[in-house]
Every structure is written in C-alpha cells, then in structure tokens.
C-alpha cells in the first residue's frame, strides 16, 4: 500500500506538471486588462470579454470555417485517391508495382519545406495562391505516402479468397474493389482520418505560403498574424490561442481512444 501511495503521488505530479501550461493559458485568457498580477494567480473574475474581442478582431470564425473546408477536401481526396492506389499495389505484386510502391513510400521522408522555392513558384504559375484547390492538392500529395502505406498494408491482410469469390459472382476487378474491399477498410480509414486530419488542421507551413488573403486563411496563419500585431496584449494572445486550439481539443477529448490508437497505429505500421 505504501508503495502504491508513492506511485499515486508520482501520477499526481505528472498530471500537474503537464497541465500547468494549459492552466496558465486558460487563466490568462480570462484575465481583464486591469488584472496585472502574476500569471499564476487565478483571474479575479471570469471575464469573457477577451474572447469576444479576439473573435471579432482576428476574424477567427471565418478562419475556422476555412480549416473545416480545407481539412474536409483533403480527407475526402486522400481517402479516395489513396485507397484506389493501394489496391493494385497490394494485390498485383509485380516487380514494377513494387518499385512504384517504394517510390510512394520514399516520399514519406521528404519534408515539403525542402522544396519550398520551386513548389511556391509552381503554385504561383498555376494561379493557385489564395485558392482552396491548390493548398488542398498540395496537402493531399504530402499526405498520400502515409495513406497509401497504411491502405496497402491493410488490404494485403484481407484474404485473397474474397476477390476470387467476387470473380465467381461476376464482378470485374474494379467492382471487386469498390463493392467488396472498400467497405472493409473502415478501421484503417478511421486511423487515416485522425492522422491526416490532425496534420492538415494544424498545418502552418503550406497555409502560410499559399494563403495570403485574409478571407481564405486558416486558424494558425490568422492567429500568427493577429499575435504579431497585438503581441503586447498577452491576454488577447492567450484568448486567441485558446479559441484556436478548442475545436480539435474538444474532438480529441471525446474520441481520445481513437486518437491515441490511430496515431500509434499510423506510426507503428510506418
């Protein structure tokens, strides 16, 4: 019992240490301009004024909407393009297809930033600056290696007898995929939605380069601009950060089992 007590004290300590940054953030965002005491001292009153001011001043509503639109487009495309690409790679293991698979997977280690200059020029030439499609397609491309990797692994695990049964029932090779295989890949699709969804939702680099008009900017970009403008108003900065992280945090707290499992799956199979 005494031994366990020590362990519970350690658990308590870990929880406190890891929660402190969030305590400071939340505390700061509630403090009014006149409340200049230490960041550690709880706010004198629960004042929602900062949130209202920041919401209006930074235009976070529109930014969140842009996040939803871009993340939605990317997820839809990455699931469709990734899963159909994975099917031949999993089922027709020819030497050529193995080569294609290796090419797809090696794209995993390419950080988009290393090709920033030519990529930015390409998007400018295509007229894609400040458009939903350019940022979405770029995000899809860099999310595809992981997606193809996970789908190929998962589809390889589905018994081939299923395909053979499909042939007997008169399916062609495409309807086998769409009618028999695709309904079965739901678990890995959930993993991909979480893995890629978090990545795209929080993306700062692509958004910073490709979205230069306020009306199309996402939360991280809007927030960074707002903060560089109002750096001295630390309570506004905190309120902005809190609003910015709230949507995904709420989803995480409700679906945390899927998040933790999904992220671990993605990495372990990677």
């Amino acid at each position: 019992m005494g031994k366990n007590l020590l362990k519970y004290i350690i658990i308590g300590l870990i929880v406190v240490v890891h929660i402190i940054p969030f305590y400071i953030l939340i505390n700061l965002s509630f403090k009014g301009a006149g409340d200049v005491g230490s960041k550690w001292i709880p706010a004198q009153s629960l004042d929602f004024g900062n949130f209202m001011d920041v919401w209006r001043e930074a235009g976070l509503g529109k930014a969140i909407l842009n996040n939803v639109i871009i993340t939605g487009i990317v997820l839809l495309l990455v699931i469709v393009i990734g899963s159909i690409a994975a099917y031949p790679l999993a089922r027709r293991r020819t030497r050529w297809n193995n080569f294609i698979y290796t090419v797809c997977i090696s794209c995993l280690i390419i950080p988009p930033l290393t090709i920033l200059v030519p990529l930015y020029k390409l998007v400018v030439d295509l007229g894609g600056i400040n458009t939903y499609w350019a940022i979405s397609l770029a995000q899809v491309t860099f999310a595809l290696p992981m997606t193809i990797f996970l789908y190929t692994g998962f589809i390889s695990g589905i018994p081939k007898e299923l395909d053979e049964a499909g042939v007997i029932d008169g399916c062609n090779q495409y309807s086998i995929f769409f009618r028999l295989i695709f309904p079965l890949v739901k678990p890995i699709t959930a993993t991909i939605i979480i893995l890629i969804g978090v990545q795209v939702w929080n993306d700062y680099q692509f958004s910073l380069f490709f979205l230069q008009q306020k009306s199309i900017q996402t939360v991280p970009v809007v927030l960074s601009m707002f903060i560089s403008q109002f750096q001295s108003n630390i309570n506004w900065v905190a309120a902005g950060c809190l609003i910015g992280m709230l949507p995904i945090t709420v989803v995480y707290l409700f679906l945390q089992k899927f998040f933790i499992k999904g992220m671990a799956d993605g990495a372990i199979k990677g």
Binding site: R92, V103, I115, M263
Partner: protein, 314 residues
C-alpha cells in the same frame, strides 16, 4: 412502350457486357488495374518530383523569386554556404533540434511508458493529458510556452522573483533559446513516443518476464535482456519519426523566437524561409533546401539501418 425500350436497352447492355469490345478488354486486363494508382502518381509528379528537379535548377541561378530574368551562377550558391558564417550556427541548431528532441522524447517517453504499464488508477488520465499537446498546433504550443519564458511577467520569472532571484531574459540568449525550443518540441511530442512504447511493452508476452524472474534476474537485468531488445522496433519508429520532425522544425521556432536573437536560434527551415520571402534570394534558398533534403535523408536512413540491424524477432 417505354418499358419495352428499357428492356431492349438493358438487354443490349448485357450483350455488351458478355462480349466486351476491344477497349473494354484492355480496361479489364489485369495490367489495367494499375490505372488505379495513376491519380496518386500524377500528384507526386506535379507537387513533388517536378519541384524537386526544378529546385535543383533554381539552386544554380541567382533568381530573386519573382522577376522573369535570372543568371546561371553554377555552384556559387553552394560555395557561398561554405563561407556563410550563419550557416554553421544554423546547422548546429538544426542538429540540436533533431538529436536533442529525439533523445529527450525517447527517454521521457520510455520512462513514462514503463511507469504507465502498471495496473494503477489514473493511468488513463495521465495518457490523455501527456498526449494532448500532440494534437495541438505547434505554433499555438510555442505561444503558450512564451508565457513562461517571456521576460516581463513571464511565469518562470515570477517564480524566480518569489525566491528573490533576478528575473532572466531567457529568449534573449541564443543557446538558451535553442534549448527552450528543443524543450518545447519535446514536451509537445513526447506523447507519441510514450504511446508507441506503451503499445510495444504491452505486446511483450508476460511469460518472457516470468522466465527471467525464475532465472533470478533483477528488474534492471530483465529490462536490459528482455524489455529493451523486444522494444527495438518501437525504438526504431520513434527515433526515425522524431529525428525527421526535429530536423525540419519550423512552427515552434517562429512562435518563440522567429530565429532570433539575430539568427542565433534559426534552423535550416526558418533560414530558408527568410532567404526566400524576406531576402529574395531564391537561388540560395533552393540550394539550402537541397542540402536540407540530403541531410534529412542521410541521417534518417542511416539511423533506420543501424536500428533495424538490432531488431530481434519475438
């Protein structure tokens, strides 16, 4: 009338299905299945391979990033790196961000995982809270930690003042700022390492430990001879994922120091960004991008090879 015609067309369709024409035959051949990955390949070609080739070309020019004219300058942009004083500190910082965060994320992740791999209440809560930063934008994480390290009214200086110590301007010193950035990156992503180690620990069969206990092995011996070798696959994943993440670090640096003071905490990523968008030296930025690509490739593949060799099968 209508139904008859519909029936006719349905029949015609059936006939067509039974006797595929030449085009359909090609379409239904096993090789044609490969068409399904063409959309993905087109995207790779457009947004990765074409820019990569183009990036190599740009790195041999003095292009400023927007004007239509430029000159070919050969290897100038690469030799320029060798004489650029900033590049050494930048490279050093990049390596600290990469290896520093990797070491601490793995050490802390492993310690946390070993501790959480017990039947205790509150383990789930710890997991949820330690993992929370992983899903938050690194930019926001950087701003949150700024509240701690800022000079005036910073949360840490408040504590120093409480203990009658002089407040310190943490982020005004380059080396300290580099350590702080490494720390923030570690704090944010150690949850991933923790979860992967936890999954790895839970997949080790319990009778391995029992066998070791019967042989009289102590905790540390068991850890060294059973846990660690069987955890190698998890170590490989964590090290490779963390090193790539650390070497390309960008958002946290922008939020905390923007590479400053001066350029003392900049990484290859932020340096490249500034060269391109602030200093209009696209040629140099492209050359730097290529160097960064090669650096990340070599470091991650070497580590992958080294670690894979040490993996044993259960």
């Amino acid at each position: 009338m209508n139904t008859v015609e519909t029936k006719k067309s349905v029949n015609a369709n059936r006939m067509a299905l039974r006797q595929p024409n030449a085009l359909q035959k090609v379409f239904l051949s096993p090789k044609a299945l490969n068409l399904m990955y063409v959309p993905a390949l087109l995207l790779f070609a457009l947004f990765i391979f074409y820019p990569m080739v183009k990036g190599i070309r740009i790195s041999f020019t003095d292009w400023d990033g927007y004007s239509p004219s430029f000159n070919w300058v050969g290897w100038d942009k690469y030799t320029q790196m060798l004489t650029d004083k900033k590049i050494f500190i930048t490279l050093k910082n990049t390596l600290i961000y990469g290896f520093g965060s990797t070491i601490f994320q793995n050490l802390l992740g492993l310690i946390y995982a070993l501790f959480l791999d017990q039947k205790l209440r509150g383990v789930g809560l710890v997991r949820t809270i330690v993992y929370l930063p992983v899903i938050i934008s690194p930019l926001i994480m950087g701003y949150i930690w700024y509240f701690f390290f800022q000079y005036d009214g910073g949360a840490i200086n408040d504590i120093r003042i409480l203990f009658h110590m002089a407040p310190s301007d943490w982020l005004s010193s380059g080396p300290v700022a580099v350590n702080i950035i490494t720390f923030v990156n570690t704090y944010q992503f150690m949850g991933i390492a923790m979860i992967i180690y936890l999954a790895g620990l839970q997949s080790i069969p319990k009778d391995y430990y029992e066998a070791a206990s019967i042989d009289g092995a102590r905790w540390f011996d068991r850890f060294k001879s059973v846990t660690l070798p069987l955890l190698m696959p998890s170590i490989t994943i964590n090290v490779v994922v963390n090193i790539i993440g650390g070497l390309k670090l960008f958002d946290v640096i922008v939020a905390l120091t923007n590479g400053g003071p001066g350029y003392a905490s900049q990484s290859l990523s932020t340096m490249m960004y500034n060269l391109y968008f602030a200093r209009q030296d696209a040629g140099y930025a492209a050359a730097l991008g290529n160097v960064m690509f090669i650096l990340i490739g070599i470091v991650s593949l070497t580590l992958l090879r080294m670690l894979r060799k040490r993996e044993v099968s259960m």
